[in-house]
């Protein structure tokens, strides 16, 4: 039933309207982890910056606001990354170090 | 006709066996709980700080790892130096070496800031790092000693026996040197920057390894009702005395050479005089209780063959060893780093002051868990495989009374009875 379905399947929050991701959603779901790990290796070890593909960029397009208009952090299950990862039992430790919302997000 | 020594596994159904495993299991559970807490809450709950970054867990880990390489010595004497009276003990020696190493490594891994990144550590190597080399040395040690043990137990491995025995002997020397080099390569710390750390660590390994070996052997023979004769124990007792003497010699040389170099006067004054509890630990714990008293217990002619003296000496040596490693690791970090020689220094980051360190109960639990893990591996190994001889009485080990003649020869050489 649709009601049950709403509980069972992940409610992936929509990204910022009028924007396009680095690749189509299906491909992003399959490859975002490799893209991110590749990006970070290049960035940190070789100093190659790609602001358009950075983690902060992901977070600004995929920022999720709560009912008060605040952008949620990764502590909140409504966080973009959390929705899918909680569903699929995937644990990432990125947000133990990285801020999980863009710096200029209203607090 | 070579006299085949029958080996018999420990009785895995005996109540005492399960009791011992249960107690050790509790110790391990405690340590794992402490490690979990440390991982979850962070190292803030321990006594370690930004000044003293390696604490009690490292003391236990280094002690166990150093002892592990030394525990192999009994087997090496039998195989490499071809002294047949030690051959029946070779399997236990190899097993104990592996067990202690596993115990020490467990503590090291559990104390990491990010133990969940262990796979990262196993897939990324910086080959300039002595630490990375040690990882190879440790795993290689387990493989070689494992092969050696297999060659001794399974006749299918007979071809591997000689190369494994010799290989393990050489490898263990490299490993102990490598462990010493972890500290020896640190030019930053005055307490460590010394070439003598390598032979010192080898001497330490011989002392601790043998002490643990003797204690374990006596305990397990008593518990499983196996006769343990004086021939075996007397030789081990004398051997321990000799290597202890050598170790104390190296310790003395280490400090004396440091005192020669005026730049090291500070650290020596700190360790030997001004270190407060550290100094007490050095003189009282390491030198006296962990050095001179056991030396007497082991080498005094009238105590030769006295089992109480031997076991007391072994216990003291183990405790003394822990204090020695404690002094090395904690002492080396407590002393302030000298950035600006000749100046009086102060800052918000403890420049110029002695750093204090108080171990937390979590670290104690973790260290003890490492010991327990080593013991569990050893005990279970003795029950699963034919490691322990069924009979180590004098009649079984030395029916032809070779030992007496050897004792006489040794006595003539060493000038002791």
């Amino acid at each position: 039933t649709p009601a049950a379905a709403a509980e069972l399947f992940p409610q992936v929050p929509a990204a910022a309207p009028g924007t396009e991701c680095l690749a189509p959603p299906g491909e992003m779901r399959r490859t975002h982890m490799d893209r991110l790990t590749h990006r970070r290796t290049e960035a940190v070890r070789a100093g190659i910056r790609q602001p358009a593909e950075s983690l902060t960029r992901c977070l600004s397009c995929h920022a999720v606001t709560d009912t008060h208009g605040q952008v949620v952090t990764a502590e909140d299950p409504r966080h973009f990354c959390r929705e899918c990862h909680d569903f699929a039992a995937v644990t990432v430790d990125c947000f133990s170090c990285h801020a999980s919302r863009p710096e200029d997000a209203p607090r | 006709m070579p006299h085949a020594v029958p080996y018999r596994p420990l009785n895995g159904h005996a109540r005492g066996f399960w009791l011992v495993l249960g107690l050790l299991g509790l110790a391990i559970a405690g340590g794992l709980g402490a490690a979990h807490l440390m991982h979850h809450e962070g190292h803030i709950i321990t006594g370690m700080t930004n000044q003293v970054v390696w604490g009690l867990p490292h003391v236990f880990a280094v002690f166990l790892i150093v002892a592990a390489s030394g525990a192999l010595n009994v087997a090496s004497i039998g195989a490499v130096f071809e002294r047949p009276l030690y051959k029946p003990l070779a399997r236990l020696s190899a097993l104990l070496a592996m067990a202690l190493l596993i115990g020490g490594l467990s503590v090291l891994v559990l104390d990491l800031g990010r133990p969940d990144r262990l796979t990262v550590a196993m897939t990324h190597y910086n080959f300039k790092s002595i630490f990375a080399w040690n990882i190879f040395l440790y795993t290689g040690f387990l493989v070689l000693v494992g092969a050696y043990l297999w060659a001794m137990i399974d006749r299918a491995g007979a071809r591997v026996y000689k190369p494994a025995a010799y290989g393990a002997f050489v490898w263990r020397l490299v490993l102990t040197t490598g462990t010493g080099a972890i500290f020896g390569f640190l030019v930053a710390r005055q307490a460590y920057d010394a070439a003598i750390l390598a032979p010192l660590f080898i001497a330490m390994s011989l002392v601790y390894g043998k002490a643990i070996f003797v204690l374990f052997l006596m305990a397990v023979c008593r518990a499983s009702g196996r006769p343990l004769g004086g021939v075996v124990l007397r030789r081990l007792q004398r051997l321990m005395g000799i290597v202890l003497g050598a170790m104390l010699y190296f310790v003395a040389v280490h400090h004396l050479t440091n005192l020669y170099a005026s730049e090291h006067h500070g650290i020596e004054a700190f360790l030997l005089r001004d270190g407060g509890p550290l100094t007490t630990l050095f003189w009282g714990g390491h030198v006296l209780l962990g050095g001179l008293v056991p030396l007497y217990l082991l080498l005094a002619p009238r105590l030769g063959g006295n089992r109480r003296a031997l076991s007391a000496a072994a216990v003291l040596l183990i405790l003394g060893g822990l204090t020695q490693v404690y002094g090395l690791i904690i002492g080396g970090q407590s002393a302030p780093l000298v950035l600006f020689p000749g100046f009086e220094v102060s800052s918000a980051f403890a420049d110029g002051v002695v750093a204090s360190y108080v171990p937390s109960p979590w670290e104690v639990l973790l260290g003890l868990a490492g010991v327990a893990i080593g013991l569990v591996v050893a005990v279970v190994g003795c029950a699963a495989l034919p490691i322990l001889p069924a009979d180590l009485s004098d009649a079984a080990i030395d029916p032809d009374h070779v030992a007496d003649t050897l004792d006489e020869q040794d006595g003539a050489l060493a000038g002791t009875t």
């Binding site: 396009e20 970070r40 940190v44 070890r45 070789a46 100093g47 190659i48 910056r49 790609q50 602001p51 358009a52 902060t56 960029r57 397009c61 952090t73 133990s96 170090c97 990285h98 801020a99 863009p102 710096e103 | 991982h39 809450e41 962070g42 803030i44 700080t49 930004n50 970054v53 390696w54 990491l112 800031g113 990010r114 990144r117 262990l118 550590a121 990324h124 190597y125 910086n126 300039k128 790092s129 002595i130 990375a132 990882i135 640190l186 030019v187 930053a188 970090q333 780093l337 950035l339 600006f340 000749g342 100046f343 009086e344 220094v345 102060s346 800052s347 918000a348 980051f349 403890a350 420049d351």
Partner: protein
């Protein structure tokens, strides 16, 4: 490139350009690196501290670093000196013979032969192509061996969970960290925060530049007045020079 991304790039260019005008001689070699371009091995970033201009009671550099990197200030009431990270600290030096007191700032010296990099088992402690030494926190396992190895006590270990990290300085429990010469600013074409603060609010004692560039301001000043390096006897070829010690 989509709209927001382009705006970002323009922003950094503008910032870089602006700063170049303000800070002038410090950053004349400093320009934002275009996306996709790696760090340049022909560069060697370094610092110069003129302790004669550095006032004992000034701490603008420390202050700025902590703000920039999201660290607690030593003046904060809940500051824990044993456990909280300090990338840069003022070290008060008193000459017992003369009684003269200085307080130069000490941070990671960005050694060209860094012992912290040599000892790191995973290669997390690394030297970037432009000779900046930093911790690749994606590989750090928190063994603290680099902390044992560093003669300058430059590194800190994170002892507990953190929140509110700065996006440009991710830091987390169980990892080792230290001054990374503000790589995120350098890559954007800006000088390190401490240098900028010193120039703006402090005594103007700190200079940032490219040691490999013979025409840099840094090299010019070194040629004029020389420079002392802390524990030069260790032969680590550090990248922070001190004048007036």
């Amino acid at each position: 490139m989509s709209q927001p991304a382009r705006r970002d790039v323009l922003k950094s260019l503008a910032l870089g350009g602006g700063l170049t005008l303000i800070v002038g001689p410090v950053a004349h070699a400093l320009a934002p690196r275009p996306p996709g371009q790696p760090a340049d091995p022909a560069t060697r970033w370094a610092l110069l501290v003129d302790t004669r201009a550095c006032k004992v009671d000034c701490a603008a550099c420390v202050d700025a670093c902590n703000r920039e990197m999201g660290l607690k200030q030593p003046t904060d009431p809940d500051f824990d000196p044993a456990h909280d990270a300090q990338y840069i600290r003022k070290v008060t030096l008193r000459d017992p013979d003369t009684g003269h007191t200085t307080a130069p700032p000490v941070m990671c010296q960005h050694c060209a032969k860094p012992p912290c990099v040599d000892v790191c088992p995973t290669g997390a402690s690394m030297q970037r192509a432009d000779h900046i030494v930093q911790v690749d926190k994606h590989l750090c396992i928190g063994c603290r061996y680099c902390m044992m190895a560093c003669p300058y006590k430059a590194r800190s270990f994170v002892h507990q969970d953190l929140t509110d990290q700065k996006p440009h300085n991710p830091r987390g429990k169980g990892c080792v960290e230290s001054c990374n010469l503000c790589v995120h600013r350098i890559d954007r074409g800006e000088p390190p925060a401490c240098v900028a603060a010193c120039q703006r609010d402090g005594g103007g004692a700190m200079v940032f530049g490219d040691l490999a560039d013979p025409n840099s301001d840094l090299n010019r000043r070194l040629a004029e007045a020389g420079g002392h390096r802390i524990r030069a006897d260790l032969g680590l070829d550090t990248g922070v020079y001190y004048q007036g010690l």
